[in-house]
């Protein structure tokens, strides 16, 4: 089938934003199947604009295409209008470079960024006529379906559909996987799949679900998931030890259709030292590894020349923590101001240092400013170990208002451990204080404070992994408390919150087990897709799928694990030790703070002879 011809012969005039489906972007690879030994399709289980905003995609795409003899192409989840038409006309999901079906690739790789994208993974495999489950693919020349990214730390809910998970920094192991797979290709198709999997299982960071089996006692109580060859083998996360000298893409693929983050991304560091007890990324990406200012300036130069973008975003989990941030920002500004290239910081801490930094950068456009105090009361912020006091917040806010910002956004969570109604209302009280301060400073100008409240979802490999999520009714009750409190304040304070049903399902997957695979299969059969999009999420469909498989979402989301109870992700080792996390959980109950580990090791267990914190300069607190 000539997919290219069918797509360009009329189909594209019938769908929204056809630019999503045409490929040919600047810097997209010119390598072909014919001149490469092994090929992988990087699949982002969301729409093009979201996937093309993902730095991980650009890193792996550049790494494979520029530095290895292999080929990486891209594929995204087609928007429902396109999906339906492709399904009706029998057009398989194709890659944007060679317009080949995913089923023609030896390897198909998905990134797991958020749990609610799992239904899109099945929808993408299905559209490409790739058998959905690992079992079905065991016989016959099917692609090896692999996955990585933050959600892979608890791979079990989606493990029936994935042949291999890559836990940790992808740039480390992916070229190895391609190299090994090449030896098992006959005419571009995998032969001797079982042997290939065995060989791949020797790599660090590789988890192959087929080699692990979950065990239950006679009463059906979960005992653990064990390697079938050697019970005690755990899967260890891979790391890039020297981030400064690691590959970083400077020839970004530039999307035609506006991406959500459509700018140069300059990763200044990986990891975070703050130790917030709710945060999975903070644990997953440990330890902190910084890049040097000189390397970053060199990279920025190449990015500017090669991309045509006019904005450089300094990305990381917490860019203000970067020890070279001041030097970097002032040098970038000096260098690029004339070329009308702006600098932006996507994530800021709640402190005056960050506000000063933002002031320096945003000399002109003062649109919005975002802070994340996460909780409304000091007690609650101590519980989650968010080292931010009300004084910090008010000083930062004061700085922002004085510098002329008029719109502030504050991020919070509800449903955290030990939360009382006072803590919930405290969110709005804090919002009110910020609003009052803004009005005072600006002299009654149109100040708008938006309070954005997410519902907390306990995640694996955090101090709160043992904690049972609030019930949906409890979350709704707390949202109503917020709503009532905001109503009393009136204009100027805006409130937004999440759809609770979605939070509960996210909670189910986050701390779920292999049995949830059946739910995903049922959802696929019903045509579920784009479930992280409120407009496409269909609650009835989910309830039916759960019922058909006799699964209670609450049994997962609301479950409190006991201290000694095995967890569904215990066979994965991300470096941070379980005992450390448990101690953090206990400390949270007594409002005990744990310091930022740059100020002294907190013995989380991640650093060792091979990998350690790598800071390039003096830490400014």
């Amino acid at each position: 089938m000539d997919i290219r011809k069918i797509v360009f012969d009329g189909l594209l005039t019938e769908v929204e934003k056809p630019g999503r489906y045409i490929g040919g972007e600047w810097n997209s690879t010119k390598k072909t199947f014919e001149d490469t030994a092994c090929q992988i399709a990087f699949c982002f289980p969301d729409v093009y604009e979201v996937g093309m905003s993902h730095l991980g995609l650009q890193i792996l795409y550049g790494l494979v295409n520029e530095t290895t003899p292999y080929l990486m192409e891209r594929s995204f989840m087609p928007w429902p209008d396109m999906y339906k038409k492709m399904q009706e006309r029998g057009i398989p999901l194709y890659s944007l470079e060679s317009f080949k079906s995913l089923s023609d690739f030896p390897i198909v790789g998905f990134t797991l960024q958020y749990e609610m994208s799992y239904t899109n993974i099945l929808a993408m495999l299905g559209l490409a006529n790739v058998p959905l489950t690992s079992n079905e693919r065991m016989n016959g020349a099917h692609p090896l379906v692999i996955a990585g990214g933050p959600c892979s730390v608890n791979p079990e809910p989606i493990s029936s559909f994935i042949d291999l998970f890559l836990i940790g920094d992808g740039e480390q192991a992916l070229p190895e996987i391609l190299k090994i797979t090449t030896n098992y290709l006959v005419k571009g198709k995998i032969e001797n799949r079982k042997e290939l999997l065995l060989k791949l299982s020797e790599l660090n960071g590789v988890y192959i679900p087929a080699f692990y089996k979950e065990e239950y006692d006679s009463e059906g109580k979960y005992l653990g998931t064990f390697n079938i060859h050697d019970r005690n083998i755990k899967v260890k996360k891979t790391f890039v030890a020297d981030l400064d000298n690691a590959y970083f893409p400077t020839k970004l693929v530039i999307p035609f259709v506006d991406a959500i983050h459509d700018r140069m991304m300059l990763e200044v560091l990986r990891g975070c030292t703050h130790g917030c007890r709710f945060c999975q990324a903070g644990n997953y990406y440990r330890p902190v590894r910084e890049k040097s200012v000189s390397k970053l300036l060199e990279t920025a130069d190449k990015l500017v020349v090669g991309s045509g973008y006019d904005d450089i975003s300094l990305t990381s989990l917490s860019t203000a923590d970067y020890t070279g941030v001041k030097e970097l920002v002032s040098k970038l500004l000096a260098k690029y101001e004339k070329g009308k290239i702006s600098i932006s910081l996507p994530s800021l801490r709640v402190d005056t240092f960050s506000v000063e930094l933002a002031k320096e950068i945003q000399k002109v456009r003062k649109t919005g400013f975002t802070f994340a105090p996460e909780a409304g009361t000091q007690r609650m912020r101590d519980i989650i170990n968010k080292g931010v006091s009300e004084e910090d917040l008010m000083a930062s806010v004061e700085g922002a208002f004085q510098a002329g910002w008029q719109r502030l956004k504050l991020y919070f969570m509800i449903g955290l451990p030990e939360e009382t109604d006072e803590d919930v209302i405290g969110i709005i009280e804090l919002g009110k204080k910020v609003l009052d301060l803004g009005r005072k400073i600006s002299g009654g100008k149109n100040i708008i404070v938006t309070v954005s409240v997410a519902s907390f979802v306990p995640k694996p490999f955090t101090a709160f992994q043992w904690f049972g999520q609030n019930t949906k009714d409890e979350l709704i009750r707390k949202q109503y408390l917020l709503k009532e409190a905001v109503r009393e304040i009136g204009k100027g304070l805006k409130l937004s919150y999440h759809y609770s049903a979605l939070s509960v399902l996210e909670g189910m997957f986050a701390r779920g087990d292999r049995r949830l695979g059946n739910v995903l299969q049922s959802l696929y059969n019903k045509g579920a897709m784009f479930d992280s999009w409120d407009d496409w999420f269909k609650l009835e469909m989910w309830n039916e799928a759960l019922e058909e498989n006799a699964i209670s979402k609450e049994a997962y989301s609301e479950h409190f694990f006991a201290e000694t109870e095995p967890m569904y992700w215990d066979h994965i080792d991300i470096g941070v030790k379980k005992l450390y996390l448990w101690n953090e959980y206990q400390k949270s109950k007594s409002l005990e703070i744990t310091r930022d580990c740059r100020l002294g090791c907190t013995a989380c267990g991640v650093c060792n002879d091979e990998i350690r914190m790598d800071i390039k300069g003096e830490y400014h607190g």
């Binding site: 056809p18 040919g24 600047w26 035609f256 020349v305 045509g308 009308k340 002109v364």
Partner: protein, 217 residues
């Protein structure tokens, strides 16, 4: 400061870009080229670029026009080399002319457009010629056309200025621009044949706009 008009072609998949996406491609390509394109003043400076007319999504073209302003005079050969090195495949800048008629915008000069309707693969060309001639020769061609608010009926015959057969299809000249404009997809809907459209030229009162950029000419 100098003004120029460039003529460029759009072929293949990139025909599916929207007007705004095409604009973005040129903005980014000019940045990559390091050519001295002028920016507007103000808090939010943007490149000074303006198209003669928006190109419909899916339409290929051999003759789109873009006006640019530069900080200093540029060499045509140098310009073409630099820009064509950094624009994605499917776009090609064909010519660049200095624009010395500064008072008129490209869109205000636009009167007509020339299209080539290419026969689809495997169609019977003789048969097509007869059908097309018959359909275009009618004294009145009434069509339902969508306007912003409702559906109206329009006689598109008076918008068709000239047409001639070639080996591979038919070349047709129609009104284009802000006064009188025929959307070529409307004509295709009327013809109901397997034809692929390519815009060939954007034309002013008496000649292609690109040929009328300077006072001397």
């Amino acid at each position: 400061m100098a003004s120029y008009v460039m003529e460029f072609s759009v072929r293949g998949p990139l025909a599916y870009l929207s007007h705004l996406e095409l604009m973005k491609v040129f903005r980014q390509s000019f940045r990559r080229s390091t050519l001295p394109i002028s920016f507007s003043e103000g808090f939010n400076p943007h490149m000074k670029l303006s198209f003669a007319i928006a190109k419909g999504v899916g339409l290929e073209s051999e003759g789109e026009l873009l006006e640019i302003e530069t900080d200093q005079e540029i060499d045509v050969g140098d310009f073409l080399e630099k820009i064509n090195k950094v624009i994605p495949d499917g776009l090609k800048v064909k010519t660049l002319k200095e624009k010395t008629i500064s008072t008129k915008s490209l869109s205000s000069m636009l009167r007509k457009a020339k299209y080539l309707l290419v026969y689809g693969d495997g169609v019977n060309r003789d048969e097509y010629r007869v059908i097309i001639a018959d359909k275009l020769d009618k004294s009145e061609i009434l069509m339902e056309v969508k306007t912003k608010k409702s559906i109206g009926i329009k006689d598109i015959k008076e918008y068709i200025l000239d047409w001639n057969f070639t080996d591979t299809g038919v070349i047709i000249e129609v009104y284009a621009g802000s006064d009188k404009n025929l959307r070529i997809d409307n004509l295709l809907k009327y013809l109901e044949l397997d034809l692929k459209t390519i815009r060939l030229k954007l034309i002013g009162d008496d000649a292609p706009i690109i040929d009328k950029m300077s006072k001397e000419e």
